[in-house]
Structures are given as structure tokens and as C-alpha cells.
């Protein structure tokens, strides 16, 4: 009975976080920290920092990484599954509902005009988000070169409609960085 109660608590907590955070992962982290560390005291601040490092170094939505981690700490595999389920449920319900109406919505003049504007806004918001992320890049030659490589390669791929995926570009950059690390290590020895 107690186990069911803990699982229910996890589900509701992450469903609430999923429902009230708009604008992606990083907005969510502060809220998760507040709920899990300050209010529930399930984890310490240090554990939360470790979780962030893991979340940033592993693929997938950061919010899902956090939910899985916290859920596992609290109640093993089931805790992880239920927390993750809680996190995605609001999105599923809201977006599924919107998807049923979006095409009809777009036939209304004023909505179509609004989306003309949003189309411009989305591009600008993405550029801005990318530029903000630049602050996290180490100020050294290699990261800068790889940044410019990603930028130019992706623009070229897009304009020439080449069949190269962004995954291939990312992995190339990762391997270059690994090779440089190995060569440097070899020279140091």
C-alpha cells in the first residue's frame, strides 16, 4: 500500500511539473530542484548537481532524464517508469488535443496571420537560443572551430539539400575532439 502511495506521489509531482513548465528543459530544472530538494528533501543539492551533469551528457529530453533519475532513486525501476510517465502525460494530452484542431484553426483568417508571424518568430527564437548556449562553450580554439564547422556544414547541407544528417556532423565533431585529446595525451607522455 505504501509503495502505491509513493508511486502516486511521484506521478502527480512530475505531472504537475510537466503541466506548468513552458519552454523546455532548462526552465524545468529550477522547478524540479525546488520540488525535490527544497520541499520533499528526497535529494541533496549536490546530488541534484550530479544529476544535471548526467542529464547534459546523455541524450534525450533533459526533463525525462531528471524524472527517470529522481524516480529511480525514490522507488527503483517502477519509480523511474511512473515518474517518466507523469512527465509526458500532460504533453501527450495537450498536444494530441491541439493536433486534432490545428488544421481547422489555420483556416481562420486571424489565426493564419498570427502563424505567419510565428513562422518568423520561431527562426529568431532558435538563433537566440543557440547564441545564448555559446556562453557555455569553453573559450579555446578547438571548440570554436567545431562550432563554426557545425554552423557552416549545416547551412551548406540545407542550401544544397545534401543528404547528410545532423547526427553525422555531431559525431564527426565528437571524433575530431577525441582524436585531438588522444594526440595531446600522446605528446604529453
Amino acid at each position: 500500500m505504501k509503495a502505491v502511495k509513493i508511486l502516486l506521489e511521484l506521478f502527480l509531482m512530475f505531472a504537475k511539473i510537466g503541466l506548468f513548465t513552458i519552454g523546455g528543459g532548462y526552465a524545468m530544472i529550477a522547478i524540479i530542484e525546488d520540488a525535490v530538494v527544497s520541499q520533499k528533501k528526497w535529494m541533496t543539492h549536490e546530488e541534484m548537481m550530479e544529476l544535471l551533469v548526467i542529464a547534459e551528457s546523455t541524450p534525450g529530453p533533459i526533463a525525462i532524464n531528471c524524472a527517470t533519475y529522481v524516480g529511480y532513486r525514490r522507488k527503483g525501476i517502477w519509480g523511474a517508469a511512473i515518474s517518466t510517465l507523469g512527465m509526458v502525460t500532460p504533453s501527450l494530452v495537450i498536444i494530441y488535443t491541439i493536433s486534432q484542431f490545428l488544421d481547422n484553426f489555420l483556416e481562420i483568417g486571424i489565426i493564419a496571420s498570427a502563424f505567419h508571424g510565428i513562422k518568423v518568430g520561431v527562426g529568431i527564437v532558435i538563433i537566440n537560443a543557440g547564441l545564448n548556449m555559446l556562453k557555455k562553450v569553453k573559450k579555446a580554439a578547438l571548440p570554436r572551430v567545431l562550432m563554426v564547422f557545425g554552423l557552416i556544414a549545416m547551412l551548406t547541407v540545407n542550401f544544397l539539400s545534401l543528404n547528410i544528417s545532423s547526427i553525422a556532423l555531431m559525431l564527426t565533431a565528437g571524433l575530431i575532439s577525441l582524436a585531438v585529446f588522444k594526440v595531446k595525451g600522446g605528446m604529453a607522455e
Binding site: G60, V88, I126, I167
Partner: protein, 183 residues
Amino acid sequence: MIFLDLFLGFLRVGCFTFGGGYAAIPLIRDVVLDYGWLTEDQLTYMIGVSESTPGPIMVNLATYVGSSQGGILGSLLATLAVVLPSYCIILLILILLKNIIRNPNVKAMLDGMQPCIIGIIVATGVQLSLKACFPHGSMDVRALVIAAILVGIIVFCKKTKRKISPIKLIGISALLGILFYGI
């Protein structure tokens, strides 16, 4: 088969998106345009909606694309696929590989991927902006004016050290759209 395609397509997105929602956008664009599931316009609209509704952007986009291609089952499968890699990897790290994150080789690889991803994100933003301002090769003056106003707002906020959230920017761009393109 569409359900298998949706699952595999979004599994790819879930496996390779490092560093949050914006990093997912180029990958989802690859998958969606490769399979021809949505037009570029539809996808851009939905990115706007995903940024203005609650929940992780990646999950929102997966749900939408899934539902548009395969109804409720499609949206469930696409969402499951985008979440599954992250779920499994975190469990693996917690149970077996506590120290893999600190492995210097893994770290060197991730350190190289991060700046490249940022470059890819900026390139995707540039691409979408150009498509919005120069649709089908012709110039859309109203779109250019909206873009200029938005850039002005961002620069003003940076100079005065104010924060402006993506959702506010999307809201403003919707209002500007109504203003310039009419009711």
C-alpha cells in the same frame, strides 16, 4: 509501415539529441522531411506551438508528428520512442556505469559534440528565418519587418539586462503577424 517508421524515426531523435530541446529541432527536421511527414511550414508552426505549450519540446513535437501520421496510436508510439533511449541510458548509468560520465574519452567526445550542436542549432534558426522572410525565393517585406522588430526587442533586452522568454517572443510574433497580415 507508418507505425514502425514513426517509432524508428523518433528513436533516432531520442538517441542523438544531446543538450535539450533546441538540439532536437534539427534532428526532428531531418526525420520529418526525410519521410515527408510534414511540410516545412507545418513543422515550423508546430515548433511555435511546442514552445508555447507546457512540456519538453521534443515530447510535444513527437506527439504532434505521431498524431498527424498515425492518430492516437501514432502519437503514443512516437512519444515512447523519443523517451525510451533517455530512460534506458539513465537507468544504465545509475545501475551499472556510475563513472562513465567521468571517463576522459567520453568527456572529450561530448566536449567536441557540444559546440558543433550549437553551430547546428544556429544554422537551423538561420535557415528557418530565411525561409520565412524569402518564401519560394521572393522577398516577403512584412516578414522582414517582423524579423527586424523581434531582433530589435532581443537586442534591447540584452542591453538592458532584461530577460525575455521564448514564449513571450512567440506571443509577440503572433501579434505582429495579426498586425501585418490582417484579420
